[in-house]
């Protein structure tokens, strides 16, 4: 019995018991459904073992949407608790757990997955490639991320969630103040997902550098591909810092090392520094692909080529460099002294310059364009003003002297949500709607989509603008309640109304997916938006080899030129096509990582040893394996091509 006691929730509540039941029923339903419809083989062959970048992208997408709802429910519970003074919906411990998991789930398991989903699906198509450089590693990336996400979500029902904030500052996150296994979940689940992300970073850099279509020079790449390249460079250089920080945190908690302790020389500020050396570039890992998406959408729906291509690229490079030298602005109040604070103030404010350049480039692209107000375009147009408000308040926070007033208040919460929601969430919804026809062969309903847009954009403003005021009035973040005499009640009620509007917006999107799946026309051709880049040059649905013949390119908008300026994209003849084989090893190895992580979290050393041996066996298998891929014969390519052409 003693063995099982460790898995108990230290601080249970009816919500948690209800979740346990819900998770159990869902799992049973999935298993029963798969068995009843005899879909286990299909699931294994077509999805669990796939190395196709398009399918991996779609799996990332589904996971990201699931995590969006998990994180969204957390957000609603927080807003509901704070809507009225002295509310009793959640106690302080639960509130702590919920703001922690909200942050981690939204940043690491939702936003990261969403941008990687779109990168996976779009980048190889945009550069005219048949897959990524390392398809097997790509599958491993996804499954590691997926297992990390599942492991983290398990904390809710087994052992208790982390409660020391998504930043998990020590000494609060140490054993003394966080004795439950919650913070172990944090350290290890993020570690596993982070390894997957690092592998994605390496994979996409090589893919973009080496596998572009003939004629596509670096300065002729579509802007989303450029943003993906820069983002993956940031990933490759930022994530190892997180790896080390999490490893040290894990060792402090499990093995009694003294990195971040308060005695024996340990230094808690080392964690804060390492965390933000990764954490600030992470912000740009999220927002740069979003900028890339907006660049694609704005130029498509303004019917103009992107204004200032070179300055767009240059500003991204500058942002990526600056992103590594601003981390101290997250803790100006924690005693660095005036000199250090001033230096980091200046670097922080400097980031506003390249970002401003991008904003003006988008505005100039719109200027005199013939604008079509489609759903992706509406998100892009909504992004510009809201993001600018969020960004400018960021410059306010960047002034270290003034930051003493804003630090740790709702003002900060308002700032970063007004940057991340229009910057990242709007971009993902825009990108999802924009690329949806390429992914699934039908379009999302525009009218329902616009309803969702208005709920989400107005909801965002109503939910977060009041926090500027209550924050300046002194409402601290992460406080689970407040008294009536503070006067925060009105502003928080307003925020709650906005949060509900946001939730309604997301429900409308789900309804839209359902509605469009049932009723939308499948006869949309391969280029429904009259777009400009190569992903629209292939058929819909995209054949597994993407392009039957590799396109040849001589400008940054080769597909547009092929439609309107007489450029010939496909000059080569059909040949047999070499493709990689499917493999179950990435899935199995990631499942072993799940067992490894779980065993570490609960200090079950036999599980650690067994799963480590299993992981080594997978690596060994990969080393000795002879896998030359397979060839799709010429006849088969011809057959697929004529079928897809006939389908138009």
């Amino acid at each position: 019995m003693e063995f099982f006691e460790r898995f108990a929730i230290p601080h249970p509540s009816p919500i948690i018991y209800a979740s346990m039941v819900a998770i159990g029923i869902t799992l049973l339903a999935i298993i029963a459904g798969l068995t009843f419809f005899k879909k286990w083989g299909y699931l294994w062959r077509e999805w669990l073992t796939t190395v196709d970048h398009k399918r991996i992208g779609i799996m990332y997408l589904i996971s990201a949407l699931l995590m969006l709802f998990r994180g969204g429910v957390d957000a609603l519970m927080m807003r509901a608790q704070l809507a009225t003074p002295e509310a009793q919906l959640l106690d302080s411990q639960h509130y702590n757990e919920i703001f922690t998991t909200h942050g981690v789930v939204m940043i690491i398991f939702m936003a990261m997955a969403f941008i990687i989903a779109l990168m996976n699906f779009v980048v190889p198509l945009q550069i005219g490639a048949r897959d990524v450089a390392f398809p097997r590693l790509n599958a491993l990336s996804f499954w590691l991320y997926f297992m990390g996400a599942m492991l983290f979500n398990l904390s809710f029902v087994i052992g208790g969630s982390p409660s020391s904030g998504w930043t998990s500052y020590f000494p609060l996150a140490g054993n003394e103040f966080s004795p439950s296994v919650g913070t172990n979940y944090y350290m290890i689940a993020i570690q596993i997902a982070g390894i997957g992300t690092l592998i994605t970073g390496i994979n996409f850099i090589v893919t973009i550098l080496k596998m572009r279509a003939p004629g596509m020079k670096l300065m002729k790449m579509p802007m989303f591909t450029w943003s993906a390249l820069i983002t993956n460079l940031i990933i490759t250089f930022a994530f190892p810092v997180l790896t080390v920080a999490l490893a040290m945190g894990t060792m402090d908690r499990l093995f009694g090392t003294q990195f971040f302790t308060t005695g024996n020389g340990g230094m808690d500020m080392l964690w804060a520094n390492l965390f933000w050396v990764w954490g600030h570039p992470e912000v740009y890992i999220l927002v740069l692909p979003a900028f890339g998406i907006y660049s694609e959408i704005i130029s498509t729906f303004a019917k103009r080529n992107l204004y200032g291509y070179k300055s767009m690229v240059a500003s991204m490079v500058i942002i990526s460099l600056l992103s590594f030298v601003v981390w101290v602005h997250h803790f100006f109040t924690m005693g660095q002294g005036a000199m250090v604070n001033s230096i980091f103030s200046i670097t922080t404010m400097a980031i506003a310059v390249p970002t401003g350049i991008k904003i003006f480039n988008w505005l100039f692209t719109l200027y005199k364009g013939s604008i079509r107000f489609t759903v992706p375009m509406m998100y892009s147009l909504g992004f510009l003003p809201i993001f600018t408000i969020g960004g400018v308040t960021g410059v306010m926070l960047g002034m270290s002297a003034a930051d003493y007033q804003y630090h740790n208040t709702m003002f900060l919460v308002a700032h970063f949500h007004l940057v991340i929601i229009p910057g990242v969430v709007f971009a993902m919804l825009a990108g999802l709607t924009y690329w949806w026809p390429k992914m699934f062969g039908f379009m999302l309903n525009e009218r329902i989509g616009k309803w969702a847009f208005w709920f989400i954009s107005v909801g965002t403003c109503v939910a977060f603008f009041p926090m500027f005021i209550s924050g300046l009035d002194g409402q601290a973040r992460r406080m689970y309640t407040y008294s009536e005499s503070t006067g925060f009640g009105f502003w928080n009620m307003l925020s709650f109304v906005g949060a509900v509007a946001l939730a309604i917006g997301f429900i409308i999107i789900v309804y839209n997916i359902y509605y469009s799946t049932r009723y939308a026309s499948r006869d949309i051709g391969s280029d429904p938006w009259d777009a400009r880049s190569l992903e629209w040059a292939t058929h819909t649905p995209v054949p597994e080899y993407n392009f039957a013949t590799i396109p040849e390119v001589d400008s940054s908008e080769a597909f547009w030129d092929s439609k309107y300026n007489g450029h010939k994209l496909f000059k080569g003849k059909l040949k047999e096509i070499h493709m990689p084989n499917n493999s179950g090893v990435p899935f199995i190895m990631s499942a072993l990582f799940f067992v490894l992580g779980f065993s570490f979290i609960f200090s079950i050393w036999i599980g650690v040893i067994v799963s480590l041996l299993g992981i080594c066996a997978c690596l060994m298998h990969r080393s000795f394996e002879k896998d030359h891929g397979r060839h799709i014969s010429l006849e088969e390519v011809e057959k697929t091509e004529s079928e897809l052409r006939g389908g138009k």
Binding site: K210, G265, L270, L274, M620
Partner: protein, 198 residues
């Protein structure tokens, strides 16, 4: 598979060229990993609490011995790749085996060194300094250990399959990895040991 015979064997296939570039980028990530460990070590170097400091526990003899072993192994893995370019399988395998044996010898001395530190009262949990020291050295040692197993796998494949674009590619990438571990060790030797003993 299309092969480009104007290039060395390890570069001859498209996948081989991708693998090599990918590995260089991975080494870039590894530089950040060790960079973070070094930065943490230098931050915590003087914070040894009630435990011993670096100057009190470092010994020059085993460290010098480890340095010679690892530097020599880096040289012999270079000779192995040179032999591979000359298509001399026997010489390649001999130098490869010498490399792995030297790596194993390095590890043995390092294990001795660790027991020595623990004996001197600088165990993993004693102070921030000892935690950072053993973690930094341990991460390098873990890389060498993984490299040993990986090297043995490659050696078996070369013995069985001879020089093919795949085995040549794997051997070449292994040599990059091994040289990189040597570079890390030079930093450890200079900035942890020599600086610590001064």
């Amino acid at each position: 598979m299309k092969l480009d015979h104007s290039q060395p064997l390890e570069y001859s296939s498209e996948q081989g060229r991708l693998n090599i570039l990918g590995f260089w980028i991975f080494i870039g990530a590894e530089v950040m990993l060790f960079g973070t460990l070094f930065a943490s070590y230098f931050t915590l170097e003087g914070r040894h609490g009630s435990g011993p400091s670096g100057a009190e526990i470092f010994e020059i003899a085993p460290v010098l011995f480890e340095t010679i072993l690892l530097l020599t192994s880096s040289f012999t893995v270079g000779l192995a790749i040179h032999a591979m370019r000359l298509n001399n399988k026997k010489a390649m395998m001999t130098f490869f085996i010498i490399t792995l044996v030297l790596g194993l010898a390095f590890l043995s001395v390092e294990i001795y060194e660790f027991t020595h530190y623990i004996h001197e009262g600088a165990g993993l949990t004693v102070s921030a300094f000892s935690s950072a020291l053993l973690t930094t050295l341990g991460t390098h040692g873990l890389h060498v250990t993984l490299g040993l197993f990986w090297g043995i796998f490659i050696l078996i494949q070369v013995a069985k399959r001879g020089f093919t674009p795949e085995t040549a590619n794997k051997s070449f990438i292994f040599s990059l990895y091994w040289h990189f571990l040597d570079v890390v060790w030079i930093f450890i030797f200079s900035f942890i040991y020599l600086k610590g003993m001064m």
